[in-house]
């Protein structure tokens, strides 16, 4: 039997640009042309003012650690516990769930508000996941 695999996202027409972005090494967000609201997850209209005029842009990839758990059990397929499931607040405002790489998965190392930067983890030829690592400097 094959090793159990980590859950793979399947893009929809509304999210395809996001997954195209991560594959190209970019974290893409959307901004409303009418009210300037920046939002995530992707959708072709502004959840703040309902305008359908929105633009896709490359985010800075910078953020900070907003909160997390270190999951021990049960572990999701494809994960070796303990591993942190984090929520990152991006410099542009939105938050997203992620994992923190290049960092011990311990409460001591994972300090709330620590600065993070995006990194990209290729799962297969279709999907590259945005993850985060402690920011340098």
């Amino acid at each position: 039997m094959a090793e159990p695999q980590r859950a793979r996202p399947k893009p929809t027409p509304e999210t395809q640009h996001f997954w195209d972005g991560t594959k190209a090494g970019e974290l893409r967000l959307q901004r409303c042309d009418a009210c300037a609201h920046v939002y995530f997850p992707p959708r072709p209209f502004c959840p703040s003012c309902a305008s359908r005029k929105v633009s896709i842009f490359k985010a800075s990839g910078k953020g900070f650690l907003y909160s997390y758990v270190i999951n021990h059990r049960p572990a999701a397929p494809g994960f070796t516990p303990p591993y942190a499931i984090a929520v990152v607040e991006l410099a542009e405002g939105p938050r997203m769930m992620s994992n923190i790489i290049d960092c011990p998965q311990t409460p001591e190392a994972l300090e709330l508000d620590m600065k993070l930067e995006v990194a990209f983890q290729e799962l297969d030829d279709k999907i590259t996941l945005p993850v985060f690592r402690p920011a340098k400097g």
Binding site: V69, I70, R73
Partner: protein
């Protein structure tokens, strides 16, 4: 909606609670329903309104042999049944039906006839949460906790005390699954599940369920049980993705539903004699106490750790030891709870659905 126009006239849990390997989830619905119908002194044919969640209304109605003229299948997680109470009260007041049955059941432990839960890979949760290793409620529900603790200065010991105090209440409930006393140290030394939460800060998984029957307050006088009136209600939803909550310092759904119910009931916090806050994980009572406006969030951890929600204390909270919350509110208002709060006249029951995805609040009273 006007206060006290609709009343609970039947309420019952399943015949067995805990581990029930001899019944499917659907049969647990039926068992709770039949017990509630008997409690109300009704016949099945008297039921003309029906609501349930997870299972569909058509599934349970057909199984029971109910022919409803009003149904509600609102399914927003654990608090769905509290939203059903609100919707049923409005439907009865509007004349859409006269007698509503609400059923809830879960074969959570034995997993017999339990519907599969799945997160499609092309859903938003499937794309933006599942790939990061969330796997069941224990890995998701506590995600806001560390931020909440940092913002308000809540300690690990205070969060552990939530489980300790609830166990004191559970010891008084003959139907509780776990009755042995525990200490803060026991909680903090129990097996790690998802830091910062350990085993004793996560809810039990059980088999069982409950059912309620509601009718107009005018008719309620003719029923065998003391009527429990719906004094105020509130509901809301926020997001199915815990990562997308507006803030981890409170729940927007709680902050919407709670005040709506208090306002409709026309009560202040000091009027509340008895309180139930759905307690799937240890942080929920803290969010609840703060978001419902009982006190600033900063004070919630200390309030519980200092024993203010214990048996005999000023704000009796989760007096059955937790779970099946509105059944306990109804028992308290009928005056028949195993750990009865003396002279309790107003009970607030507050529920959560999903991982802070939804919320429902009901204010019950036994005085009209």
């Amino acid at each position: 909606m006007r206060s006290n126009q609709v009343a609970v006239v039947g309420a019952a849990e399943t015949t067995e609670l805990g581990v029930v390997p001899n019944a499917s989830q659907l049969q647990l619905h039926a068992d709770a329903a039949l017990n509630a119908i008997a409690d109300a002194g009704l016949k099945l044919s008297d039921i003309d309104g029906f609501a349930t969640a997870v299972e569909t209304p058509q599934q349970v109605c057909h199984y029971l042999g109910i022919k409803p003229t009003w149904v509600d299948g609102t399914s927003v997680g654990g608090c769905s049944f509290m939203l059903h109470v609100r919707h049923a009260a409005a439907a009865i007041e509007a004349g859409l039906c006269k007698t509503v049955l609400i059923t809830h059941a879960e074969s959570g432990k034995s997993m017999i006839g339990k519907l599969p839960r799945s997160t499609p890979a092309d859903s938003l949760n499937g794309q933006f949460e599942a790939p990061y290793g969330v796997y069941g409620p224990p890995s998701m529900f506590p995600i806001p906790v560390l931020r909440f603790m940092k913002t308000y200065g809540i300690t690990h010991e205070q969060l552990a005390s939530v489980a300790v105090v609830q166990r004191e209440w559970a010891a008084r409930n003959p139907r509780a699954m776990m009755k042995d006393p525990i200490t803060v140290a026991d909680v903090l030394n129990s097996r790690m599940i998802a830091y910062p939460f350990r085993l004793l800060q996560c809810c039990l998984v059980t088999d069982g369920g409950g059912a309620l029957i509601l009718t107009s307050a005018d008719r309620a006088r003719d029923f065998p049980r003391k009527p429990v009136y719906i004094m105020g209600t509130g509901e809301s939803v926020e997001t199915p993705m815990v990562s997308q909550m507006e803030t981890f310092n409170s729940s927007r759904a709680f902050k919407t539903a709670g005040p709506l119910a208090f306002k409709e009931a026309g009560i202040a916090h000091k009027d509340v004699d008895h309180l139930m806050i759905y307690d799937a994980f240890a942080h929920l009572p803290l969010f609840g106490l703060g978001d419902l406006g009982f006190m600033p969030h900063e004070e919630t951890g200390k309030f519980i750790a200092d024993g203010n929600t214990r048996p005999g204390a000023k704000l009796p909270l989760n007096t059955n030891g937790g779970g099946l919350s509105y059944q306990e509110s109804v028992r308290q208002m009928r005056g028949i709870a195993p750990a009865q709060v003396p002279n309790a006249k107003i009970s607030v029951c507050h529920g959560v659905g999903g991982m802070f995805a939804a919320s429902g609040t009901i204010v019950f009273t036994n005085e009209r």
